[in-house]
Symmetry: C2
Subunit: 217 residues, 2 copies
């Protein structure tokens, strides 16, 4: 499969690297064509790795992963261009996080979410919110954390969620550990989990954790 991974930060490089290991082609997209991080990543990776602009990545990918920060996601996707995104599955792993005085802030929050904003701005893109509730190393290697902990997906397109569930399976998340929370509006719920994730990360002094939802019966 050909993937576009938008964003050259740790999340994008980690997801891109794992997709390469799994045998996929990956174009890492960034704002400019001469992004040294993206070029270095593509050079260090195998021949199936490319670097390019957001537009070049989107054009090359059959599936698009949004791994830029949630607050700049729409800008990156507008640079990618609706005509290169329409009809494709877009996995949004982002969180609209910023820090003020050391405290996390989300924008949007509660009455809106990045997932919803992307779906509204690109109505012909098949947006699936996923993986934003775990650190990127856990995203691509859930076995780092013991137990039957889960990830969440939501989105309007059932087929797109199935496709993302298969991708999650490649990463090591069995389908039984992928909890479908319904339509894209549930992106609010998983994005608002971030402050608790951050509080737990602060308490543990690390990011190698996740929650396992336990149920009676």
């Amino acid at each position: 499969m050909r993937y576009a991974v938008l964003g050259t930060g740790e999340v994008g490089r980690t997801l891109g690297g794992r997709l390469l290991e799994l045998g996929h082609e990956v174009t890492l997209g960034s704002r400019s064509r001469d992004n040294p991080v993206a070029l270095g990543w593509a050079t260090a990776a195998a021949g199936r790795a490319r670097a390019g602009t957001f537009a070049e990545a989107a054009a090359a990918g059959e599936v698009v992963v949004n791994a830029v920060g949630g607050r700049v996601a729409l800008d990156a996707l507008r640079a990618a261009g609706a005509e290169r995104l329409d009809g494709k599955v877009l996995v949004d792993v982002s969180n609209p996080l910023a820090f003020e005085d050391g405290w996390p802030r989300l924008d949007p929050v509660e009455s809106d979410s990045v997932g919803e904003r992307i779906q509204r701005a690109f109505p012909h893109v098949r947006v699936v919110k996923a993986l934003n509730t775990v650190n990127c190393r856990v995203m691509v290697d859930p076995g780092r954390v013991p137990g039957e902990h889960q990830v969440f997906v939501c989105g309007e397109d059932a087929g797109a969620k199935e496709q993302v569930t298969e991708l999650l399976g490649e990463f090591g998340w069995p389908a039984g550990r992928v909890l479908d929370l319904g339509g894209i509006r549930a992106a609010r719920a998983v994005e608002m989990y971030l402050p608790l994730w951050l509080a737990l990360s602060g308490r543990f002094g690390g990011a190698d954790f996740n929650v396992e939802v336990r149920r009676a019966g």
Copy 2:
């Protein structure tokens, strides 16, 4: 121990009933002295149960449990009166939840929380946020849900958090399953978890669940 439980809804009655079972004295507080739900509850319960106004309950209790809705918590506590609350441990189990068009909304959210508002409005009360992340039946009977799932506490007063941890132990939460998230500002994190709790509740069609935080190493 003498407990004041403010709020006569399902949460207040469930917590009050369990505290009675554990041998404590409980005064269930409500806005008016002739609240039929509170009077019926006190009559049906043993002799250690009382019903009264918020002020009467606060006066009677050594420890106060805020089990009114998060959006009316300050009103209830003002009716209780700072002079009857000062110096006492106050366990805030509330969430500032309302529904609009069937969707959950939180107010305050993100840059503030009910827990913080209570602590600011009553600086001499020893506020501990706890238990708001589980259904009231799970609060008082964690064994309803399998696994080593946890509850969170936060607050400014370490002694108060220890005292609440002991109370949680009486409910069935071993100290190792009580995660201290730090100061009262972490109330934002646990209150913002509610939309995810609601999404999970909707998916499962029930409230008998909780999250178990799993960690590497």
